[in-house]
Amino acid sequence: MQAVKYARAESVEEAVSLLQDGGEGARPLAGGTDVIVQARERTRDIDLFVDIKHIPEVVSISHGGDGSLTIGAATPCYEIYGDDAIARNFPILVDSTSLIGGTAIQGRASLGGNLCNSSPAADGIPSLIVLEAQVEIAGPNGRRSVAVEDFCTAPGRNVLGDGEFVVKLHFPAPATGSGARFLRFIPRNEMDIAVTNAATQLRLDSDGTVNWARVAIGAVAPTPLLVADAAAAIVGQPLSEDTIAAAAAASSAAASPITDMRGSIRQRVHLAGVLTERTIRQAAERAA
């Protein structure tokens, strides 16, 4: 382990000040399931952990009267999938948080940490994208908000500047007739990193017309991708084999993956289409 120091922040302001004073080597510590490994294996230069888990708004879940949702960035996965109202109104968040790592990882890992680790294969981010999550960031100049699809900029990189950290994630209320689904392909049943993943949220009119949709895919580009063309392929008419196939083709066309130990370019391009098709069908089942 690098000679890393530890500081516990009791407020957002204190965390910002510790991160700012700590400079480049200071990192927020949420569940630590990525960042502690990176410090130990020296894949990031880290000399200060700023523990943000003792700041109440960073570790809480709140449901708005209008059906909106706010999740503190460091809220662990098990609290998210164990929240009845999230399971009822945002089941796609249960899809994601219940398959990130195993039980012991889910006791610590958070959606904010998954986002800030900014892996192209992150299993939380496609779901956040299709839910239109807004990322609330605190920093030396106060707070700002960023659409989650604009947050990651490259593998392991994002828009956070010096002294900034993610405080919470805001989700608008899903409109009536909405359904959303996240799926991941891995060669075993659990405990693996996505070869490819995908998420869809869509909204059905009472006559079955898709009047709104979002599709996102992961592990097929330097960052998780919002695929506007895939959504456009299904919006404006009822779902049909033709529109679903067009959406799948749009996702495959948007994918620009690499070949690595987990999968080849050809396999990932194919999977982007398959998972888009399946998430559309299963999101529609949840919408019905």
Partner: protein
């Protein structure tokens, strides 16, 4: 920047404990090297294998992925807390009776994880047991004996 020694106050297996650690220590390093509780094992040291699994504030965690400094005020339970004196817990006995271990390195992690499962879900299905224990790796048993041991501890009939 040199790390400094820190003092951590917590509860370990129901005992108030104060220990001195290096600021860079993981909870696993603190347990094994500072406190002398060597039940939790270092397998992969990166969160994949579960051999270092302990219970922290009611949830299982990989102690290699927790900083010792984070444990101030925490309630930690390790495999050493399962037995009462010479009296093994029902889960530990079930592991013996079902021969759910060979080399034993993974066993403390499995015991702590399975104990936490049975606390919150006293009658789990085989599917639930397998998913709950997916973060614990065993290279000896092929898992079936471990699953049977957990089923036996849950009072289920084991074929």
């Amino acid at each position: 920047m040199a790390s400094e020694h820190i003092v951590v106050n917590c509860t370990i297996n129901d005992e108030n404990t104060t220990f001195l650690a290096n600021e860079r220590d993981s909870l696993l390093e603190a347990l094994r090297d500072r406190i002398g509780l060597t039940g939790a094992k270092e397998g992969c040291n990166n969160g994949n294998c579960g051999a270092c699994c302990v219970n922290m504030d009611g949830r299982i965690v990989n102690s290699c992925l927790v900083m010792a400094a984070e444990c101030e005020g925490s309630d930690i339970r390790t495999v050493e807390g399962l037995a009462s004196g010479d009296q093994l817990s029902p889960l530990q006995n079930a592991f013996l009776e079902q021969a759910a271990l060979q080399c034993g390195i993974c066993t403390p992690g499995f015991l702590v994880a399975a104990e936490a499962l049975l606390e919150q879900n006293p009658d789990p299905s085989e599917h639930e047991i397998r998913y709950w224990l997916a973060g614990n790796l065993c290279r000896c048993t092929g898992y079936d004996k471990i699953i049977k041991a957990v089923q036996q501890a849950a009072g289920q009939s084991v074929v």
